[in-house]
Symmetry: C2
DNA sequence: TTTGTTGCAAACCTTTTGCAGTCAT
DNA sequence: ATGACTGCAAAAGGTTTGCAACAAA
């Protein structure tokens, strides 16, 4: 297996991701990292995001619309997607690990873990819609 | 708003979907419906799948890998994805609607509903791996 | 006749990949 | 020197869309 080698590009990607709570898409990461590395390519961004996700330093979030999103927070947590503005927001709630066992009782096989995505409206959008 | 008009192609798509538990991708639907309608186009399949999903007659399931999958079963239920064979399998478990309220306590906004995807190994793959 | 639907093809968007050159070790 | 990493560009999915012909109402 390949030994990891230092790269400024990868460092910049990690740094940008660590500094935002916006769960950016690969393209958004690309746009921002490009300010520091104007010649970085989108391919490099994807390669590094996938690499970091593989070794567990970041998380990849699959959403129904648009592309995947990335999160520097790796401890398990749920997300809310605001159906009004499309933002993906962290949910400050303990994941319900116990439901894996619950699910296993209803499933012919083994359940390892789960992901959940909540759909709702964030405060900002609720305000806008009342105005 | 547009009034729906009958179409044999749409009927065939609904029928095929109703007759399988495999949660096929659009392409798989295309392959099968093409046996009855050799000239049907993939575009038509997509248009109808999206239309049916929009009016709530079928469900679209977003998975991390490959394309979206479609399900004729519209009453809310969870799915298990077998990390070994990639199949998407129905989970015969009541959705935990109560966790929406739980989640709302931890979220600054309104929570409407949620989806969940469990990751595990189906019985068939567990057998294969022991052999 | 009106209008939704279809087949076809082109376009789109996100993501991956082959390659030659570069950089970290 | 070795092998990982990069930029570039091309390609590969998966999905949408414009258009003229067609079919349901």
């Amino acid at each position: 297996m390949a030994t990891l080698k230092y790269s400024r590009q990868r460092e910049a990607i990690k740094e940008f991701l660590a500094g935002t709570k916006e769960h950016p898409t690969a393209d958004t990461v690309y746009m921002h990292v490009r300010e520091e590395f104007p010649r970085i390519s989108l391919g490099t961004v994807y390669r590094n995001l996938n690499l970091l996700a593989d070794i567990g330093e970041i998380t990849k979030i699959t959403t129904p619309d648009g592309g995947d999103r990335f999160d520097a927070v790796t401890n398990p947590h749920y997300h809310v997607i605001c159906t009004s503005c499309g933002r993906v927001i962290d949910l400050e709630m303990e994941p319900l690990d116990s439901i894996d066992k619950l699910a296993e009782k209803c499933f012919d096989g083994y359940i390892d873990h789960h992901t959940a995505l909540f759909y709702g409206t964030c405060r900002d959008c609720m305000k806008k819609n009342t105005k």
